[in-house]
Symmetry: D2
Subunit: 340 residues, 4 copies
Amino acid sequence: MEQKVRFAIIGAGRIGQVHAENLTRHIQEAEVVAIADVVQEAAEQTAQRFGIAQASGEPEEVFGREDVDAVAICSSTETHADFIIQAARAGKHAFCEKPIALDLPAVDAALAAVAENGTKLQIGFNRRFDPNFRNIRDAVRSGEVGTPYLVQITSRDPAPPPLSYIRGSGGLFLDMMIHDFDMARFLLDDEVEEVSASGAVRVDPAIGEAGDIDTAVVTLRYVCGALGVITNSRQAVYGGDQRVEVLGSLGSILCENNTPDRVIRQTEAGVVHAKPLYFFLERYMAAYADELRSFISAIRDDTEVEVTGRDGRAPVALALAAGRSYRENRAIALSEISPP
Amino acid sequence: MEQKVRFAIIGAGRIGQVHAENLTRHIQEAEVVAIADVVQEAAEQTAQRFGIAQASGEPEEVFGREDVDAVAICSSTETHADFIIQAARAGKHAFCEKPIALDLPAVDAALAAVAENGTKLQIGFNRRFDPNFRNIRDAVRSGEVGTPYLVQITSRDPAPPPLSYIRGSGGLFLDMMIHDFDMARFLLDDEVEEVSASGAVRVDPAIGEAGDIDTAVVTLRYVCGALGVITNSRQAVYGGDQRVEVLGSLGSILCENNTPDRVIRQTEAGVVHAKPLYFFLERYMAAYADELRSFISAIRDDTEVEVTGRDGRAPVALALAAGRSYRENRAIALSEISPP
Amino acid sequence: MEQKVRFAIIGAGRIGQVHAENLTRHIQEAEVVAIADVVQEAAEQTAQRFGIAQASGEPEEVFGREDVDAVAICSSTETHADFIIQAARAGKHAFCEKPIALDLPAVDAALAAVAENGTKLQIGFNRRFDPNFRNIRDAVRSGEVGTPYLVQITSRDPAPPPLSYIRGSGGLFLDMMIHDFDMARFLLDDEVEEVSASGAVRVDPAIGEAGDIDTAVVTLRYVCGALGVITNSRQAVYGGDQRVEVLGSLGSILCENNTPDRVIRQTEAGVVHAKPLYFFLERYMAAYADELRSFISAIRDDTEVEVTGRDGRAPVALALAAGRSYRENRAIALSEISPP
Amino acid sequence: MEQKVRFAIIGAGRIGQVHAENLTRHIQEAEVVAIADVVQEAAEQTAQRFGIAQASGEPEEVFGREDVDAVAICSSTETHADFIIQAARAGKHAFCEKPIALDLPAVDAALAAVAENGTKLQIGFNRRFDPNFRNIRDAVRSGEVGTPYLVQITSRDPAPPPLSYIRGSGGLFLDMMIHDFDMARFLLDDEVEEVSASGAVRVDPAIGEAGDIDTAVVTLRYVCGALGVITNSRQAVYGGDQRVEVLGSLGSILCENNTPDRVIRQTEAGVVHAKPLYFFLERYMAAYADELRSFISAIRDDTEVEVTGRDGRAPVALALAAGRSYRENRAIALSEISPP
């Protein structure tokens, strides 16, 4: 049997714990040798919970460890690019949560470091590993829908995050819709060359006072000529709502929401089906494990990762273009944001 | 029993025949005393088929008949406004197919004539009488979805019309999406104040050569602040696809497509459900009868019609705004098209 | 154009009015020249409502009329067989509601009279004309499910009929399940040779006191060797529930319930779909018209009717066998009820 | 933290491996100290695969080990009762696959040994831990469907097992429908007092030649008076089909099949949904882990197990009654099989 890939996890927050659980319990090909968090107590608690030998309050320490093959960067967004650079320089592979950074120069610096050092970098666009979306992408790629006409992506959170989170998030386009920008590229395997964005504050006026929007519609034009549309809402009280559809010359392929069960209640009040899974962690539970399995395979087999640095950069550019389109009330070519 | 409303039908084409069948066979409160078409033979054939006593090759004749209470204007679009004016001046109520005209001055002249003469005018936005859409509109109006956030309208024809039709249609926004602009206003009972349109030729290059598009995404901003999005495609090979959804603070209400049956086949090849009803005539069969019943009730009870001249005008303005947005690649305020 | 088929309707109750409406308004190939009911006032009211020229308080009168080609027998069950005989002897075709009679000798006498006089007799098993069930029957006949293994028929009324009705109904097997016995034969195009019945009083003890049951399960063995099962309940508070499924070597084909619309509400309380159509008249509205169209075609083209006297007899025999099985708590071969 | 429950697994076949994987990888509260199989090589391979320290070719050895708290009995059916007895005498708790035995005296001897020694015994009716069925059971128990009228259980395997398996299986009622007999009791929390069975050979004549049937319908009468029906088929080519429904005075609650995804393809050929999960291992993956978690909780908290020895006995009695009913073609009271 090949050797296990030895991980250090940076960041012991919600997503760091998800990865810790998957790496320690559900993925046989990995082991976790250390976890680090600027809040040392958080690192220690998570270490204890998942039986991780070392816990540290200084994330940078992990890059110097010889027993670390790869790092999982789960810290706050503003640290991502720098940790990617440090990992690359230390010869460590990096799995990094999205987004890489909130501006393109920082993203580009990180990607350059990875390229120079020949390490691997995979971005945490976990939805690419969801069976529904993957099935649709594969169908499109195989020609099942024919020439693509239109991509429709509906994405709604069950409830808005705390205002404190929103203030540091970079805004809806960079924080929430970035997943959908990635999905838009993933589904058609094509680049978007123009975006046109509308936004509104409908869910909570406090979100507007914090300088953000909570409701948005963004129209996309792909290089191939197809159109796309993404709608986002920070609140859908019935649960997380994530549906995509691709229409083409041979038909349409779409997905409905995952539900906790398939039970139907028929009463005088109506015929009631299960609600969508409420929270993204439940919805994408399997996808979180599968993205790490994919990263580990790329390391062990020395193959290209499935979600590259370029895949991490493009949605940031799209989000920045969407922000400008929203402010200037006109369509924005991607070339205005990221000159070729 | 009250007297029946006596109709003359102008136009013996496809839609004229639909109305002839409903008025002669399925609506007890109406009778059809004459049908006219510039192609006299067409008028005669339809008259024979539905047992209509008089057939004429000169549409204007019907306005002089004393035994006509109301006219159903089913002729080509460029004649609509003039026939509405003639009907109003002759004291006849008019039921007119959409659109009233392809430019606002012509629309306004028609509405003015109706106002001066105190006759009734109802526009043939039949989808307002579809049980699915009506149910959703009623739910929104009753507060069931709370504060509206987002309206999503998907509208796809099974196949594009002939190129000859497209050339004279006024383009996708005025010919096809006009139904969806009406639906957008109907669902929220609110006006749209800004539109942003994208278009593409994906289905057939010949449509592009004819100066039109076949695929479009239009984003709407309502006066109340909600956003909307309409997507159109001239081709969905699996059938006519007409779905709408309204998301609000209390949840979402949407509809799936109507199908000819509820049969499910489970085989090794998959679990196969019925396709959507293919053609709009099948899909809206009951709605065509119900819009006429509503018009007849308004005449007999002397009440306001359910789809007014103003409801006929607004979607024309929206279509014109969408056209300009598409050409200028920027959001267009309705006030640019139709100054207040 | 061929001449219209001239009908007399016997019975002005609920089902008589359904047929009157279809024959006078929706079926161009028929006209109704008379309606008769032992309650003359009922006949007169229905005649006025649907514009029928003659109303009579003496049903037998219609058999002597020269301007009557066919009778629609919608009177109470105990009169069916006798009216069929009178119609046959008078050379009138007969469309008769189910069941022909509650005992086999009476059924056989009626069928013999029809055979002797060479008239046509069609039984009102309207569900055979429902698009869902017909689609499934056609699929089975075409070999789509392969060798049939199992037929499952679920049939539930929204609410039990009045006790007065139940007392004279012949019991659940002859009154309610008779439709499902017909469906069982229709779906596989095969005869049932053995039945095994269980019954219970669950909905209302008063039904038990009236000597009937309100809940039943009947297992069938077809001549071809396939099994079947019919479940009946007199009460399903969410609406009329009528589903069938045929499983075979190549898969399964089934149908879900028809609903008034395809609207879905997503709220914190759940995802709510439309309930099944409540009442059988709504559910089978189109089927009631189509069975008459089929009968009229058989008369005009002089072809075999689609639901024959034999099709009317077999479910009566099955219902009688089910009754005996229920009482004796054992499987009953059809040959015990109706020796070959 | 409490101590882990130390397991020995008896039987390294398909189901033994399922339990081994769950106990070693997914259930933190357990550890597996030994695995035994009469085929020593099988035990060794499974031990290596899941990192189990000891592998043995003599199952009886595990009862003498001091480091074993509980045994998981996954060997062939004829050994179950004896291993339960040995485990009880050795003071080990036992988790035993269904059925306990193919005759009631053997079952009763096993239950008596457990009772005498005060150990715990849980039967592997894993479907009780499926979220769909559990949700329905809970709804019935909470009164959500009101007075129960009718239980309908549909259970179809994707393909029949090998003939060699069928010959030693005890027949469809004891091998396949036993799960449904358990489900029937579980859903209503009530006993069945009478069964009436029909069977047929439709899938494969070789099954008939082996003395078994492959298609069956069994009607149940519950003590409370409700009726039930179970249908079984050894073959549904579209996948494992497991649906249940409970109808009562307040409505009906049912479940559809689980599918691998929620993708829908709309093409000219139809609207295609995902097929049911093909194999029972995929379908009940989570339920297999949850039944062991429940057993472990019962041990650690010293509480009653969720699926008792009595729950293991009753379905055997029902299967025996169904077999007699099928052979004698009459309803069989449970009191004939298992006198009170």
